[in-house]
């Protein structure tokens, strides 16, 4: 069995995801199939796109940062998203907040996050290779700043307004809206496709800057392109489902354990497929068996974090 897995991991993952997807779509279809099937299809599509976005963004980020244990979410994007939601509710009130046209709100969120990412990644322009660590640290620090600001607003907010903030700052994979999925999802898919097309160059990049440059790789330009893709993927996935901290770290950790890390042509699809399997499988269990659809993100963080700790302690992730 293990030998088969080792030989064709991607095919197996794809099969597994197909089975889960089919089960998610068709299991327990009641009399309301006309309404439920499109609903499930939207959710399934959303989970696949968001899962793949987070997985690919994490792989790209780790390749640029030359570090297998980092995730773009530590760069303060989540904190920025939460701050935006909190500030909006505080300024225009709960009713005003829920009256905002969703496409406008989505565009605003993605716009602000991408602008922030461009400013942050812009600090790398024309600088030395060691500055990636500094940029990451800058992101972490800004994250703390955003968190302390939203913490203050939440502290003096009345409990009812706070409950509205709470409902949107808590990641939920079932909240995906069909219209937004069409807009955001197509952008994300384009970015994912571009990442796949860059696989070869990413392999060279992973060898480290000096080697990559001596092999004739346009390192600077590739790095900025990759970071731009990360920015787009993280912004879109956060605006679609809310902040998810360790999900990317976990699926990429599992992908490393399964297919190794030397070839992006295998690593990227493996990570994207594992992300889909975890989300669809988890949602299947929670939605159908336990009836607690909104708690998947918490459980993914909890269990995923534990799995990752275990991998760390076994020395499987370096």
């Amino acid at each position: 069995m293990m030998a088969v897995v080792r030989a064709h991991p991607l095919a197996l993952l794809a099969l597994c995801l197909l089975g889960l997807g089919a089960a998610y779509l068709f299991a327990g279809l009641g009399p309301n199939a006309g309404f439920i099937l499109p609903l499930r299809a939207t959710r399934l599509g959303g989970m696949l796109v968001v899962g793949a976005s987070i997985a690919v963004a994490t792989v790209l980020f780790q390749t640029v940062a030359q570090n297998r244990i980092l995730t773009p979410s530590i760069m303060g994007f989540d904190a920025l998203y939460v701050l935006m939601q909190t500030a909006l509710v505080a300024v225009i009130g709960a009713v005003g907040f829920t009256s905002l046209p969703k496409a406008l709100k989505f565009g605003l969120e993605v716009g602000v996050m991408i602008t922030a990412a461009v400013l942050l990644f812009g600090t790398l322009l024309g600088r030395g290779p060691r500055d990636v660590a500094r940029m990451i640290l800058t992101g972490v620090i800004l994250g703390v700043l955003f968190r302390s600001l939203s913490g203050f607003v939440a502290r003096v907010m009345d409990p009812n307004a706070y409950s509205v903030v709470q409902s949107v700052t808590f990641a939920s994979f079932t909240r995906i809206d069909a219209t937004l999925l069409l807009i955001g999802g197509s952008a994300a898919l384009a970015a994912i496709a571009l990442a796949f097309a860059l696989s070869r160059r990413l392999d060279v990049m992973a060898l480290g800057r000096p080697v990559a440059v001596s092999l004739g790789l346009g390192y600077e330009r590739l790095m900025l392109l990759v970071l731009a893709l990360v920015a787009l993927l993280v912004s879109v996935s956060t605006a679609l489902v809310g902040p998810v901290a360790f999900f990317g770290l976990i699926v990429v950790g599992l992908a490393h354990a399964l297919v190794g890390a030397d070839r992006h042509a295998r690593l990227l699809p493996a990570a994207a497929l594992i992300a889909g399997i975890v989300l669809v499988g988890g949602q299947l269990i929670f939605e159908r068996l336990i009836g607690q659809q909104s708690t998947l993100s918490v459980v993914v963080e909890c269990v995923g974090g534990l799995v990752f700790l275990w991998l760390l302690l076994k020395g499987r992730v370096r």
Partner: protein
């Protein structure tokens, strides 16, 4: 040494200002003959000033020790899962015994925070050797796992805002006599660190080097983490999470004086105390008579300071 003297000098006017500034309009000079002034002074002003000084000093010292232990300038005590552990403990006691006295809740939260640190220790002992950089990451992941549990329970029971305000919003507005005394223990733990200062420096050279120099690295490591965790736990349950102090002050001091802890620890402690006190005074004054949490003030000032530090020197 001149630096230490300067900082101590700065602490005197800051403390005086802190004793004079508060929402109550009383003349502190009149504590001899005005009972209301005396009450305000002894119950509110003095405890608050002491709490700020203890917190600032202890957090800065804990920051230095943690950075020596993990040999990374960019970790701070808040990144070991301690705060999230405290939150889990507080949630548990609030749900099981909602009417428990405040001090009991604080003690339960502290115990949970210490248990979390113990778990953290057990985890990092099992890490492959030479993987020092994984230490802060393990802390982050542990914090994330606990945070997820806290969020889930707090969400179901509608206690998230309560937990967030009590533990995550660092502020001294709730400090009065009888509600801050746990901080003396944190101060004592930080003072204990001074006794062992030289050994932490050796530890900062790396485990192998330290062992070759005859240091019992395991014991020093545990002692250091015990200090860090006690300080963090007690500060979190008494006043809440306060960011940046354990990060900014040690980095600034080490730029000015190098890493001789025997000499620099007192300066770090005084610097931490001065920074937090200045921020707390600012937090009291900005929206007088209302408060801005010191954590928010530090979030803004600390991040500005830190980024300035980061972009002035080449990244290490």
């Amino acid at each position: 040494m001149r630096l230490a003297a300067l900082l101590t000098l700065a602490l005197i006017p800051l403390s005086a200002l802190s004793l004079m500034l508060g929402a109550a309009s009383v003349d502190v000079a009149a504590i001899g003959h005005d009972p209301q002034a005396a009450l305000i002074f002894w119950v509110s002003r003095l405890p608050r000033t002491l709490a700020v000084l203890l917190t600032g000093a202890a957090l800065a010292v804990a920051g230095v020790i943690l950075q020596q232990i993990v040999r990374n300038r960019f970790v701070e005590p808040g990144t070991t899962g301690t705060g999230e552990g405290a939150a889990l403990g507080l949630l548990a006691i609030t749900l099981l015994a909602p009417g428990a006295p405040i001090i009991v809740k604080m003690l339960v939260a502290s115990a949970a925070a210490l248990a979390t640190t113990f778990l953290f220790l057990r985890l990092i002992r099992r890490l492959p050797p030479r993987e020092v950089l994984l230490v802060p990451l393990v802390g982050l992941i542990l914090a994330g796992v606990l945070q997820a549990a806290v969020t889930f329970i707090g969400w179901q029971t509608d206690l998230l805002q309560y937990i967030g305000t009590w533990l995550m919003s660092g502020e001294f507005s709730g400090v009065i006599a009888g509600r801050y005394e746990l901080l003396w223990i944190a101060g004592a733990a930080a003072a204990l660190a001074y006794v062992y200062a030289d050994r932490f420096v050796l530890l900062g050279l790396g485990r192998d080097a330290a062992t070759n120099l005859g240091l019992d690295t395991e014991r020093v490591l545990h002692l250091g983490l015990a200090v860090v965790s006690i300080v963090t736990a007690l500060v979190v349950v008494t006043v809440g999470m306060i960011p940046f102090v354990g990060l900014v002050v040690p980095n600034l001091v080490s730029r000015l004086m190098g890493d001789n802890l025997r000499q620099s620890l007192p300066v770090v402690a005084a610097g931490g105390a001065a920074l937090v006190l200045a921020c707390d005074i600012l937090g009291r004054a900005v929206r007088y008579p209302y408060e801005v949490p010191v954590g928010t003030v530090l979030g803004v000032l600390g991040s500005a300071l830190f980024l300035w530090l980061l972009y002035r020197q080449p990244a290490r």
